[in-house]
């Protein structure tokens, strides 16, 4: 089987600060990969480079066999197939919940309103927000906003979903409702790359855990390997902070 995403020697600097120092990563279809690591280790930047919200300086990103770094690649066409969920939700403030979900399918894929709304309602019900389709997106709680954001991404029927710390802006009581939706999505076989600080989630749901430190992938493997018996001292040190109280 071909990997859906293949990253090779990816490098990225912000000014003089080198954030990514040669990243190699492959993600297979249907795989759930969690990227963990300390803040500033380059996790989010890596994720944002995958759908070109940041342009990497050098290296290659192949998505379904097409090189995203090639200047002739139609990025908008590929971005449609890559869903993204942000830490800050980023719901469109000028739209209600349903319109948030139907806007992109209608403008980008030219789908008829009725059909787009049916799809949207299906996905909104899937994240447990069937009763909120006409709500003002600004007035929802954080957890509800993030679930709308997931439904919005799903409405484009992406082949892979990127999650950029989806629960970091939520209070501990609300985190669960978003993680449940993500677990359900993983169970349905969605390919997912999740940048997260939720170690329990990473341990339970992911097929592979990637530990990033200081711009490189230091260690990767099954959750059992990484959490159970980390090879690198830095991984052990990082995880001890999270696992102490378990």
């Amino acid at each position: 089987m071909e990997p859906i995403i293949k990253i090779e020697k990816l490098e990225k600097s912000f000014g003089s600060l080198k954030v990514l120092k040669g990243i190699d990563l492959e993600v297979m279809p249907g795989e759930v990969v969690c990227i963990i690591g300390a803040s500033g280790s380059g996790k989010s930047t890596l994720l944002r480079c995958i759908n070109l919200l940041e342009y990497a300086d050098s290296g290659h990103i192949w998505f379904d066999g097409k090189d995203l770094m090639d200047l002739n690649t139609n990025l908008n066409a590929l971005r449609q197939r890559i869903g993204m969920v942000f830490q800050g939700f980023n719901l469109f403030n000028n739209k209600n919940v349903l319109d948030n979900c139907t806007m992109a399918p209608m403008t980008v894929k030219k789908i008829k309103r009725q059909q787009a709304e049916e799809t949207a309602i299906k996905h909104l019900k899937g994240v447990g927000l069937g009763d909120f389709i006409n709500a003002d997106s600004r007035k929802l709680s954080g957890g509800q906003k993030q679930r709308v954001a997931i439904a919005r991404a799903l409405c484009m029927e992406p082949e892979i979903m990127l999650f950029d710390e989806p629960t970091s802006a939520l209070d501990p009581e609300i985190v669960g409702e978003v993680l449940d939706v993500m677990k359900k999505l993983a169970a349905q076989g969605m390919t997912m790359i999740v940048v997260t600080h939720e170690m329990a989630f990473a341990r339970e749901v992911s097929d592979r855990v990637v530990f990033m430190d200081n711009g490189v992938i230091l260690e990767q493997g099954s959750p059992k390997e990484v959490f159970g018996n980390p090879k690198e001292a830095r991984t052990r040190e990082f995880l001890s902070r999270y696992l102490e109280d378990k």
């Binding site: 759908n51 919200l53 342009y55 200047l71 990025l75 908008n76 066409a77 971005r79 449609q80 197939r81 890559i82 869903g83 993204m84 942000f86 800050g88 939700f89 980023n90 719901l91 469109f92 403030n93 000028n94 806007m103 992109a104 403008t107 980008v108 600004r138 007035k139 709680s141 954080g142 957890g143 954001a149 919005r152 991404a153 484009m156 802006a169 939520l170 209070d171 609300i174």
Partner: protein
């Protein structure tokens, strides 16, 4: 309504003091000479109303005497009993009505009578305010035409400027994209520079100078096509050139307003739209502009109000706005100060009501929705 009932039922402080002052004013007004328009004249009604004022003053004096003699135990006296408080309260309401009636009958009606007689006078009456009424009445055609022109120029000018500003700000915010070829990069650079230079020049020069330049430039262009002066005046009228001046001037200011509005939109909105596969252009049209315009509405309303006032400089090119009309009236009657005071009042009325309207619109559109303070 409920508020009013509550107000009437509530005890108020300083009833005697305020009542006594009002009563004194009432008696003073009742002793004024009745004007032609006075509806009570010297009838007994006046004496009854003045009597109410007098009675209240007497009651207030009595209260004062008791208060002075029993400084410490005043609250134990009859004046502080609930019944007396109630009586004094309702009496004070009666007093208010009486003073209001007196006010309408004497000062207000004499003012109206003065305005009436000055307006219909055959020659300029004496005194500042009577002259103003005389000028207002005799120059009414001028003022009406001037106000109508000013309103049209401000309204149309702001609308046209808004549309142009949308184009201008679109040019202004063009940034070269990673995938653009050299031609697109060059065009974007040209567009951005044009917008930036335009905004700098327009904002850095007075509108009066712009008006003169546009007028004479337009005149010259039409002259070049071989038209006669009469023909040019029909096409390139003072109104049209004034309107174009205001529009082009406001475009620069509104473009900056809109740019501020666009920059105030969270970058995450753009990222979310782009991550869904929307193009830069679709993102602008569907996500950024609607929010930016909505946020800019108070500032756009402000620009409209500024245009009402600043269109006065168009009188230099002979545009028949309120300022030009005022100057004409003052030239006819040789009363400059009075005429310009009338113009000031008209401008004030226009700007004040426009600002009320703008506030109502922003409230209706809910421009600043209060978001929950926490991210959750």
């Amino acid at each position: 309504m409920k508020k009013l009932v509550n107000f009437i039922k509530r005890d108020h402080p300083y009833v005697y003091l305020t009542g006594a002052v009002l009563g004194a004013l009432g008696i003073k007004m009742a002793s004024m000479q009745p004007s032609q328009l006075s509806f009570m004249g010297s009838s007994p009604a006046i004496y009854i109303l003045a009597g109410i004022c007098g009675l209240f003053i007497l009651m207030a004096l009595a209260a004062l005497a008791v208060k002075l003699s029993r400084w410490k135990s005043f609250s134990a006296t009859a004046f502080k009993s609930p019944a007396m408080l109630k009586v004094s309260r309702y009496f004070s309401y009666l007093l208010c009505v009486a003073v209001l009636l007196l006010f309408i009958d004497r000062p207000l009606m004499s003012f109206a009578a003065m305005a009436n007689s000055s307006s219909s006078a055959d020659s300029m009456p004496d005194g500042f305010v009577p002259s103003m009424f005389y000028l207002l009445h005799n120059g009414a055609t001028f003022f009406r035409m001037g106000i109508w022109t000013t309103v049209r120029i401000a309204l149309l000018g702001t609308l046209i400027a808004f549309v142009l500003a949308l184009f201008m700000v679109t040019l202004r915010i063009q940034k070269p994209d990673r995938q653009d070829n050299d031609l697109v990069r060059f065009l974007k650079y040209i567009g951005r520079s044009f917008a930036s230079i335009y905004i700098t020049i327009i904002r850095g020069t007075p509108m009066m100078v712009q008006a003169l330049i546009f007028y004479y430039a337009g005149f010259g262009i039409f002259k070049g096509t071989g038209m006669s002066v009469t023909e040019i005046n029909q096409v390139w009228s003072f109104f049209i050139s004034g309107l174009i001046t205001v529009s082009l001037n406001s475009t620069a200011y509104l473009a900056e307003v809109l740019r501020g509005g666009i920059e105030s939109i969270d970058h995450g909105q753009t990222e979310a739209a782009r991550s869904l596969g929307m193009t830069n252009w679709q993102t602008m049209i569907k996500v950024v502009f609607p929010q930016a315009v909505k946020n800019s509405i108070p500032a756009i309303g402000n620009e409209f109000i500024i245009n009402i006032k600043d269109s006065s400089v168009l009188s230099v090119i002979g545009c028949m706005d309120l300022m030009y009309a005022t100057t004409s009236v003052s030239g006819i009657y040789f009363k400059a100060l009075e005429t310009y005071c009338i113009a000031a009042v008209f401008y004030l009325i226009m700007t004040y009501f426009s600002s009320l309207l703008m506030k109502a619109i922003s409230r209706k559109l809910d421009t600043n929705v209060k978001e929950l303070p926490s991210s959750n």
